[in-house]
Amino acid sequence: MRLPLFVAAGVLAAAVAGWSWFDPGKPAWSPAEAKLIASLSLSTLPKLPPDPSNAVGDDPAAAALGRALFFDTRLSGNGKVACASCHVPDRQFQDGTPLGTGMGQTNRRTMPIAGTAYSPWLFWDGRRDSQWAQALGPLESLVEHGADRMQIARLMAANYATEYEAVFGPLPEITALPEHATPLGTEAAKAAWTSLAERQRDDVNRVFANVGKAIAAFERTIEPRPTRFDAYADALVAGRDTAGLLTAVEVEGLRVFVGKGECTKCHNGPLFTDQHFHNTGVPAVAGLPEDRGRIVATAQVLADPFNCLGAYSDAGPAGCAELRYMDREGEDLIRAYKPPSLRGVAERAPYMHSGQIATLAAVLRHYNAAPAAPGGHSELRPMAMSEAELAALEAFLRTLSETPRMETSHDRPDRSHLALELRSITEIATGLSVPSFRRAAGFAD
């Protein structure tokens, strides 16, 4: 009498467990899980919308100029620092060190660029509201490029006049103005800035903003590319066989990611980020100034003359909804930082806004333990994930790297495409044109 009960209960348990014990290649996903997995696929990323604040954002000539500027070390105080010095193209446009180093050392980890054109907020704390406004910050930071806007405007006139004027129209007459001037920076540069007429300051600001817009036009071409996870998610959505696309452990990691781990609370959508700001109890770094995160940045972005509502933006108020309706205050913004995209995360150690955590495994242990925040309140709570679950989660995160896809009967990788991807990195380094970079990287022209 008891045997049928035992068998029946066993069958039911197996059904509840989704048959994955018996056939790890065909895990059953609940409708909610399947929907969540589908929402993470790169295939659901919409076509990049125009940036209303940057009229030249999709102008190939602006992107070509921006690419040249991105690699130009003359945009610095010592002639040695370019954007690419920290945003290294073959390292996902980041530098692999805890703190960025230009003319000095910053207090924050260099961020990757791919997909940031989709973000309403730039930097870890979102203190700028567009890629072009972001690009201007490091140029005048004394520990990054250490340049100033007058120096950069003069550089454009001396070395990029033709390219600049083809995109933005005539350069203003600035040759008689001081060599260096900025409202930020050194006392001498600030004094020189104060000595300028309002019209002259506006002229220089406009050239400076346009430099940012050209760099942003280049950065808009840097987009994430499909990963093994995307092949899996797309096969799942299409009802195709997913066998061989992810290993059993990676599938289990995905299960934790969309389920018990609650990772999609912050890392959701095809870029694996909600583009908002979260306090996750990341420790402070001894020796660095107090870092309050988003709570300070909201005032900074509102005061930024290069923001969406400012005089140098091409957007009207209707194009600036994110800035106008920004969440400005509240305890949840203290030590809150933007979740970076998890695409390519495995190759981007060290982690967190000041590189506080050295390895991906240690990051997962941090989320599992949920330590108290050094300021504000952590959104995390202890997860009680097992070592096996953490290992599976890490294995899943490693499927988010742009690697050659696994060969299956359904989805055979295009080797010529791979060769072109590899060549594109060389082209960036050797300075070939943006159209060729776009073609090589598989973008439609």
Partner: protein, 152 residues
């Protein structure tokens, strides 16, 4: 050791799969955090003290996640007359996660006929959200809370 004792655990073996179902079920419920099953998803609701009836009009279905949106809110008196020149406030959040909206929506225009344009609506993750509409006019101040269940 009496033999009868060694049989006893075997007899209880059937409990193992049953226990697995139970534990699995609880674990699954906790991890997916489904909204309450009886969630009222109506976008037209009377305010708590019955002073007004509010309707949320997202203007797009399904409501997108991650995109800033402008909605229309319509307010009437209990007998269906449009409420003009009222003051409206919109707040929201995720009850299961303890956080608010990622934005501060504002009423930017009175459209006439008791309809108001609300800009700055945004949801930064799928799941159960609540939206509270507070209405103030000569009749008094009252509020209604709406439920949204946003897909992935």
């Amino acid at each position: 050791m009496p033999k009868s004792k060694s049989k006893s655990p075997l007899r209880l073996l059937w409990l193992l799969p049953v226990a697995l179902i139970g534990v699995g079920g609880i674990g699954f419920a906790a991890m997916m955090q489904p909204p309450p099953a009886d969630l009222d998803l109506s976008l037209t609701r009377a305010t708590e003290n019955g002073l007004y009836v509010g309707t949320l009009e997202p203007g797009v279905s399904p409501i997108p996640v991650g995109t800033i949106q402008a909605w229309t809110v319509a307010v009437t008196t209990p007998d269906g007359k449009p409420l003009e020149h009222a003051d409206l406030w919109i707040v929201g959040g995720m009850p299961q996660h303890g956080h608010g909206l990622p934005t501060e929506p504002q009423v930017t225009e009175e459209l006439g006929g008791g309809r108001y344009r609300v800009e700055g609506m945004k949801f930064n993750m799928p799941g159960w959200w609540t939206i509270t509409l507070k209405v103030s006019s000569a009749a008094g101040t009252d509020s209604a809370t709406f439920n949204l269940n946003l897909g992935g």
